[in-house]
Subunit: 362 residues, 3 copies
């Protein structure tokens, strides 16, 4: 493919020789003379200059570069497009494997592909052109939209509803029972989880993720949200549109996550918490209270990001502070004893010398 064609497909402005031939996309350091590469922002310009790529996609023209450039508004998006151009998805060959177990009452759309060892329960519906990989379990009454891709070994439990163009990576579980029990004496009795999970269009769910069904009603993941691997979404959670939930996040029961929010890796959100639209939660944070829309918070007991960064900056100085405080205390007490500062109204008892008993242990 020539660079001129590529510039047109990416909707970019070509600077340089459009006749250059491009055979692949490569990262900057590994690019050879037939590879196109990407400098997503100006931090990558030095690497771009050093790269052997035959041409570069850039957000603005790199001065003094001796190779052709394609200037685009959104280089990340152009990267996505270019990768698809050079590695097109294999055409799916529609068909239902004779090694699958498909209920007679299931309804399969046109062009559906069902791989071996797939189980499809009673009354399930699968939209046109969706592909179900080996070892998937689709419980009774599940509904899958059009053009979905359900990778290997995904469990979709009874009653789950899913929109179109949804992608689910291998091993995910959608619709497992929520974690709900009533205490009776020392024992716990299961609260039946009779709700469902609903997943809207263009959601992507990572490998080995778990999304629990609602106790009553539904657990809901709205359009365009992307969930990374090993995330836990508890019962009755409502996740907004176009949110990003990074690996190993745990979202407690009945939480609401607003549109466009971002939860970084290993965040935990306590039950019933509401995270506002566009809020961003730093990695490993513990969110115990509502987070306002647009806020950036972080920390084990999540606080505003800027405060958290300041706390983290001081934290390593804590032992020095402790030491200095003792020195100040002693200096003050010496001064008083020496009579130079002898306040008549000085309180008899100078308190708080006592160390917290547990402090020692921890």
């Amino acid at each position: 493919m020539t660079l001129a064609e590529l510039a047109r497909l990416l909707g970019g402005e070509l600077c340089g020789d459009g006749g250059v031939r491009v055979c692949r996309v490569s990262p900057l350091p590994e690019a050879g003379p037939e590879a196109l590469s990407f400098a997503v922002d100006d931090r990558y310009f030095p690497a771009a200059r050093a790269s052997r790529a035959c041409a570069l996609v850039v957000p603005q023209r790199i001065p003094d570069l001796d190779r052709p450039q394609i200037v685009v508004k959104n280089p990340c998006l152009a990267l996505a497009q270019a990768l698809r151009i050079f590695s097109p998805e294999p055409e799916i060959e529609p068909g239902i494997s004779p090694l699958a177990s498909v209920s007679d009452s299931a309804v399969l759309g046109l062009g559906v592909k069902i791989h071996p060892f797939v189980y499809i329960g009673e009354g399930a519906k699968i939209g046109a052109r969706s592909e179900i990989y080996p070892h998937c379990y689709l419980g009774p009454g599940t509904e899958i939209g059009e053009d979905c891709r359900i990778y290997s070994r995904v469990s979709i439990r009874e009653g789950t509803r899913m929109g179109s163009r949804v992608i689910i990576q291998d091993g995910a579980v959608i619709g497992s029972d929520g974690f709900g029990y009533a205490r009776e004496g020392e024992e716990y009795r299961k609260i039946p989880q009779v709700g469902i999970v609903e997943i809207e269009d263009e959601v992507e769910i990572g490998a080995n993720v778990t999304v629990d069904r609602a106790t009553l009603g539904r657990t809901l993941i709205r359009k365009g949200t992307k969930i990374d691997n090993l995330v836990q979404v508890a019962h009755n959670v409502e996740v907004g549109k176009n949110t990003i939930i990074v690996a190993q996040v745990a979202i407690g029961g009945s939480c609401r996550i607003g549109d466009g929010a971002v939860l970084a890796g290993q965040v935990a959100v306590a039950d019933h918490v509401e995270i506002g639209a566009g809020a961003q939660v730093g990695g490993q944070s513990g969110v115990l209270r509502d987070v306002p829309p647009g806020a950036k918070v972080s920390g084990t007991y999540a606080m505003p990001l800027f405060d958290w960064l300041r706390v983290q900056a001081i934290l390593p100085r804590l032992p020095a502070m402790w030491k200095e405080m003792r020195e100040i205390r002693e200096k003050l007490s010496r001064n008083e004893k020496s009579g130079r500062v002898c306040s008549p109204n000085r309180p008899k008892k100078i308190r708080s010398k006592k160390k917290p008993s547990r402090g020692r242990k921890t």
Copy 2:
């Protein structure tokens, strides 16, 4: 169903018209005129007054409520019962799918249901009325009790023993090899994991949980314990009766968790730690030392819950403390220089004070 019948089934006291017809259970805000709803404690009384539910289940009579009420001792338990009444579990139709692979030497109890693509190894035993969903793997010599429900894609490795009325959610792995290696130079040699996993009656295990087999002996989960999704239980762990282990907890090798303990989400327990009966560990805590029975602890280096809450309250003020300490230091030094406080017996070196040594730390 009439309210009077329902009150009788829930063992509650009816206040109001017993002839009211109830068709379903709904959450307070969504309840329509034919729905029963629940006010689990008095925090929900305002929502109960505002709800359109035709009747309410309550722990004590809500005054001035214009609708019938059923007063019960334990509304959560009544909720569990009511949900089961309106959403009875589907009757299982016993039978062994011809698409399953069942060893000739396996022993299956009466009324067992084996779904397609289940693999049952040599010498496995499955108790009466247990249901094994599609894609489950039951290794050689596994034993499953009566009335168990093993959802789709569960792996139960060789030798695992399981009591009755156990529920395992989809994708869980029971009996994978423990993480044990002997170092030899730079390399690690696998220590064979020749023990088993034993799970007692009425345990429930969440989706994509992993429970490792013991190196020697057994990993044990006692009666009535409930484990949420994506939890890791390492080799040789012993979990007591009726404990609650919330999502994404990791329990290190050879730990002992006492009866009735509660581990909140994302807790990590280091190897060989003992957590006493009835202890409660706050979310995301790191437990590096034994926790006494009944204690409530929290924190990355877990400390008593009340101490932890106080630390968390002060933590955001740490930068202010740092600044103020500098000001105090400067003021003291100014005062000294100005001669007003000039102690002749002031020691030359103000250092003093041992740095907190290793002993302090733990």
Copy 3:
């Protein structure tokens, strides 16, 4: 087996009667009169003395012990060997189950064992004597080396390459799509993940682990590395040789983990971070910056281990520090008011009385 034979097999020095018969290996407290047991280091010597084991494997002779001992250099390694002697791995019976789905273009080595319900895609290659347990998915073009053991329900996605003697525990996903999106307005567009995963010889991967394929190029796990359950390895990560990655660790995109590093449980490593060879990261740490080779770090905002321990020691005293600081401030202000310390150049405003607004809430 006699103790003399065993000493020879373990390469140890026998002290005592070599004619003693040994039937099994048991932990010290549970060992009966026919069991061999292990005192891995001197902390276990008291337990060894109290044990009923007929003989002991020890790193040095325990004085005054009335039973035979085998002295070895590396008791952990000897334990691994002895367990294998008494619990030999079952011989695999080669063969391809008629219930498996194997592509005609797949190439299977001699002595391979393929269990029921395994799916093997086009062009896959499996080396001699490898065993693939039920419900595994091997995508098109995957390559597995010799003597591998892939336990039940493992997904190995298209193009994955794997060396020899690799062990993968149940439910793991190798080669799921990396978590990469380009933002376009409010929405996210998938960046195709066209790279692969490569796993070298003697790697072991735990149950329900997820390893993402690279966006471009490869995600790489080098020889001899051991990964515990429920770990997340993101796209384009490179993990060195002989590293130890404990349960529930999350490694962000494009990270490099050096040879011989150890990441304890629930560690999170941010994208693009480099952890040096031999570095050790404490449990639950958050690693946001590069870690030098050989360093030991810990903490939410990982710092050197020793600093972190000191911070953790002071942390519980934070409320006491806060209180004392207030008292010091008041004392200084009283002294100044009483005229005894009346610095003429005292600043008009004594700052930092302001409490941080968020602090109050916690």
